[in-house]
């Protein structure tokens, strides 16, 4: 199971980059296509708000690949270490 957790980390990192790339590409296409302020605001909000989330997913994948999820903490002491 730990091997799956570890190598799936690569999938989460790829998903973070891939999904954000698709979001940006769609945003640019839609802004160019529609052209008015509404589209810029809508897609701008998506691009800004999902950037930290994509970074978070990448970090999650990286931590998984490092094996940090092989063992989940059983007490607060472990969380704070």
């Amino acid at each position: 199971m730990n091997a799956i957790k570890k190598y799936m980390g690569l999938v989460w990192m790829a998903l973070a980059i891939g999904s954000y790339y698709i979001l940006l590409k769609t945003a640019i296409e839609q802004i160019n296509k529609v052209g008015h302020m509404d589209a810029i605001i809508q897609w701008g909000i998506f691009a800004i708000i999902f950037l930290p989330i994509a970074i978070g997913l990448f970090i999650f994948g990286w931590l998984a690949f490092q094996g940090l999820y092989d063992h989940l903490p059983g007490s607060s002491g472990e969380v704070e270490d």
């Binding site: 809508q42 931590l63 472990e78 270490d81």
Partner: protein, 528 residues
């Protein structure tokens, strides 16, 4: 009904004998005081969403209706997007100052901003200042809600015995749905009671009566503040404070400590993001879909949701209690799996049974009503033509067409036709059943999640740590669901169900992460 469920579930659990009568009485008080306040905050937050089309007409430039709706949803979405910031600001306060005073503050902010929205003059009177003020107050609402939920869930959990934590916190979990129910109920009652004539009442509601549900918030918040002032601080937090062990910088400890950060990320990607999209698909997108895609009548689309919520809400308690016996993980994962496989068939069915395409129209059954209303001080009148066309499947399609009629007799169309369908009883209840199934999924993913979040973080940074993934998942992923789904529908017009790929995709990723990485362990001790 709630009292009966509470008494039954309290008496039938064998573990319950471990609690004394005084303890039970105390926890009931805690649950009641926390739940009432949280319910009111959800009410405040959702009346805005439930009144989105009316708010669009009042505060945004009237270009085309879709643009107006999207602008409102954007404002609605703004409330969701700032929720994680509220979680950080008030979470920090809650972990430093205490749970009780923090969620009193969020209640005051929420009530004040909701009341103020009801006072803003329309776009026609104060121009762009109107939408700007709405947006600012909406942001305050979002910040307040970001601070509220984590506090209430933490407060109840820290009063609960370990073997009943899922059950007790599930009462807090009912508040979001009941807040939505209350907002729908108040809106419908107000809409019907402004005039003896139904049409005049609706007209008055759309003109000024929509403000009443916002003003009503002040009464509710006043009651809740009174109740909450009588509460004591959480015993675990008080102990921590007395020992001088509270966190100096909860945000830093939550996000920069690798051990805690990994749990924040796991909670977000393995549980709350899926929970968020399931919640908002079942209870918000369903309503948007009924009204905008299936074209179901305003009142029916809302009463359908009300019935489904009433039937399904007790299941929050059932799944919360079940999670105390079998663990939180698999209930949440089962809810996500069912959402992934059932959304498209459910929505396909909703579309199919409300469709009038390819049905034979009988011209002899058409009824047409014309109403001409003079406009004060103008040389024209407004003519409204309502055409009612019954179909063989029992659905009556109403088309409202408005024209400006000038004194010289010439006519000019002013609005596009507005189509709405009135459903017969069998179709109405079939839709209630389909929405009910979606809300059952909500109860599965949402009922146990407060206990799950409380158990994975330590007391001294719990408020901050659990609030952040909750509001990112529920607020950002979930809150944007209706907005993204509507947007997808406008981009890919060939598929009416295209908007569902967003909640399905997010639920699927969350399901895989949750199944692989989450533990099903129930923490026996949240006091550390």
């Amino acid at each position: 009904m709630w009292a009966i469920i509470f008494i039954l579930t309290t008496q039938t659990n064998p573990n319950n004998c471990m609690q004394s009568t005084a303890e039970k009485k105390q926890i009931r008080k805690v649950i009641f005081a926390s739940s009432v306040g949280t319910l009111i905050e959800w009410y405040d937050f959702y009346i805005f969403g439930s009144l989105a089309p009316i708010i669009a007409a009042q505060f945004f430039p009237k270009t085309d209706p879709t643009a107006a709706l999207l602008s409102t949803l954007a404002t609605f979405a703004a409330g969701f997007i700032v929720r994680p910031f509220g979680a950080l600001v008030f979470g920090r306060l809650g972990d430093k100052v205490g749970r009780k005073y923090t969620f009193l503050l969020t209640l005051v902010l929420m009530g004040g901003s909701t009341f103020a929205i009801g006072l803003i003059p329309g776009y026609e009177k104060i121009g762009f200042l109107a939408p700007i003020l709405v947006l600012l107050l909406r942001l305050i609402q979002g910040l307040a809600l970001g601070g509220e939920y984590g506090g209430a869930a933490t407060y109840v959990a820290e009063h609960s015995p370990s073997e009943r934590r899922g059950f007790y916190t599930s009462w807090i979990q009912t508040t979001a749905t009941l807040g939505l129910l209350l907002s729908l109920g108040i809106i419908l009652i107000t809409r019907k009671s402004l005039d003896a004539d139904a049409a005049e009442s609706i007209k008055a509601f759309e003109s000024w009566g929509w403000r009443i549900p916002f003003w009503f918030s002040l009464v509710l918040v006043g009651m809740s503040i009174y109740i909450r002032l009588k509460m004591h601080e959480s015993p675990l937090f008080s102990k921590l404070k007395a020992e001088g062990k509270t966190s100096v910088n909860p945000i830093k400890e939550s996000l920069l400590n690798k051990g805690n950060l990994k749990m924040v990320l796991l909670a977000l990607f393995g549980a709350t993001m899926g929970q968020g999209v399931v919640w908002y698909t079942g209870q918000f997108y369903a309503q948007t879909f009924l009204e905008n895609v299936c074209k179901v009548d305003f009142e029916q689309s809302r009463t359908i949701l009300i019935w489904a919520i009433i039937f399904a809400t007790p299941l929050f308690i059932v799944f919360g209690q079940l999670s105390d016996r079998i663990g939180r993980k698999w209930i949440i994962m089962a809810g996500l799996l069912l959402a992934v496989v059932s959304y498209r068939p459910i929505y396909q069915q909703m579309l199919q049974i409300t469709s009038t395409e390819n049905l034979v129209k009988d011209p002899s059954t058409v009824s047409i009503q014309r109403m001409i209303q003079p406009v004060k001080g103008k040389d024209f009148s407004l003519q409204t033509t309502t055409t009612s066309q019954p179909y063989p499947n029992g659905i009556t399609e109403k088309t409202v067409h408005a024209d400006t009629v000038y004194a010289n007799g010439s006519e000019m169309p002013v609005k596009t036709d507005k189509v709405s369908k009135v459903l017969p009883d069998n179709t109405y209840w079939a839709i209630v059943a389909l929405i009910f199934v979606q809300i059952v999924l909500v109860t599965m993913v949402y009922g146990p999640i407060a206990a799950f979040l409380v158990e994975i973080f330590p007391t001294k940074i719990r408020y901050t740590s659990m609030s952040l993934p909750y509001h990112l998942g529920n607020g950002v992923f979930g809150g944007l669901t209706p907005f993204i789904a509507v947007l997808l529908g406008t981009m890919y017009t060939g598929d009416k169900l295209v908007g569902l790929w967003y909640p399905i995709g997010v639920s699927l990723v969350c399901l895989v992460i949750g199944v692989i990485y989450l533990s099903n362990r129930i923490d026996p001790d949240v006091k550390d």
